[in-house]
C-alpha cells in the first residue's frame, strides 16, 4: 500500500511545522544543514508528505522563507521539522540575510 496517494489530503493544508511529531509512515525525512551563512545541499527527490529537518548549526538566527508560501523560523543552533504539503519549485531565502538562497523542489 503506497501511502503517497494520500498525500493530496495534506496538500490543501498549509506547510506545517512539526516541533515534535514523528514523520508519518512511508514518508522520507531529509536534513538540510544551515551553517556559515549558507543553506547546504537540498534533497533531490522530495515528495508531498516528506519531512524536511532544518538543522541550523550557525550561531545566527535564520529563516527559510518563500514569501506567501512558507516562512520557517530557524533559531540559532536548533533544528526545526517541516512537513511538505505543496508540490512545485520554491526558490527561498533567509529573510534576515537575503543573500542566502536555495531552491526546494517538491514532486507529487
Amino acid at each position: 500500500m503506497n501511502l503517497r496517494r494520500f498525500a493530496p489530503l495534506f496538500a490543501a493544508a498549509v506547510w506545517s511545522l512539526l516541533p515534535s511529531a514523528p514523520a508519518a509512515a512511508a514518508t522520507h525525512t531529509y536534513t538540510v544543514v544551515v551553517d556559515k551563512m549558507k543553506f547546504g545541499a537540498m534533497p533531490a527527490e522530495v515528495h508531498l508528505g516528506d519531512i524536511i529537518v532544518w538543522d541550523n548549526r550557525d550561531f545566527l538566527r535564520h529563516s527559510a522563507t518563500d514569501k506567501g508560501v512558507f516562512d520557517i523560523d530557524l533559531p540559532a543552533g536548533k533544528t526545526v521539522r517541516m512537513r511538505v504539503t505543496k508540490a512545485g519549485t520554491f526558490p527561498f531565502i533567509c529573510k534576515y540575510h537575503p543573500g542566502m538562497k536555495a531552491v526546494l523542489k517538491v514532486e507529487k
Binding site: F59, L60, Y96, H97, P98, G99
Partner: protein
C-alpha cells in the same frame, strides 16, 4: 589648540595605520577587541534606531543588526574565554569608539525620515569600513585558527548587512 588638533590627527593616523598595515598588524588580543568594539557600536546604533525610528523596514533592519552583532559578540566572548585571551584596547578600537560617539550625537539630533536616511547611510559606511578592515588587516593578521574562522564568518555576515543597508538606502530615497 594647534597641538590638540595635531594630536588628534596623529592618533587617528596611527589608528588607521593599525588597520591598514597587515605586515605589522594587530595581535589576536587586539583583533578581538577591535571586532568586539565594532559589534558593540552597531548594537548601540541599532538600539538608537529602534528607539527613534517609526519606519517598519528600518526597524526590522535595526533589529537584525542588534540580534546578529550580539550573536557574533557572544561567540567572540566565548572564544576569548576558551583561548584565555584578554582583549586588548588599542588605537583602532579607540578611533572606532570616538567616531561612533560623534555619529551617535549627530543621529540623536535627527528625527523622522531624516534620522532614517542618516542611520541607514551610516550603516552602509560603517559596514564598508568594517568589511574592508576585516579583509585587508584583521583576517590576514589573525594567528589563531578559530579566531580567523570567526572573523571570516563575520565578513560574510557583514557583507550581507552592507548589501541589506544599501538596498534599504535606495528604498528611502
Amino acid at each position: 589648540m594647534r597641538y590638540k588638533l595635531a594630536g588628534f590627527v596623529a592618533a587617528t593616523a596611527m589608528a588607521v595605520a593599525g588597520v591598514a598595515m597587515a605586515a605589522d598588524g594587530p595581535n589576536d588580543a587586539q583583533i578581538a577587541h577591535i571586532a568586539y568594539t565594532a559589534g558593540n557600536i552597531d548594537v548601540a546604533a541599532g538600539k538608537l534606531a529602534l528607539k527613534k525610528s517609526h519606519n517598519k523596514a528600518v526597524r526590522e533592519f535595526a533589529s537584525e543588526m542588534v540580534r546578529d552583532h550580539n550573536a557574533v559578540n557572544a561567540k567572540a566572548l566565548a572564544l576569548v574565554k576558551q583561548l584565555k585571551v584578554t582583549p586588548q584596547d588599542n588605537d583602532t578600537s579607540k578611533a572606532l569608539t570616538k567616531g561612533a560617539t560623534e555619529e551617535t550625537k549627530k543621529l540623536s539630533a535627527l528625527n523622522g525620515a531624516a534620522f532614517d536616511k542618516a542611520y541607514v547611510a551610516n550603516e552602509v559606511a560603517f559596514h564598508k569600513t568594517v568589511t574592508g578592515a576585516l579583509k585587508s588587516t584583521l583576517i590576514p593578521s589573525a594567528q589563531n585558527a578559530q579566531l580567523k574562522a570567526l572573523l571570516e564568518s563575520g565578513l560574510t555576515l557583514f557583507n550581507e548587512h552592507e548589501q541589506h543597508a544599501e538596498h534599504l538606502a535606495t528604498e528611502l530615497k
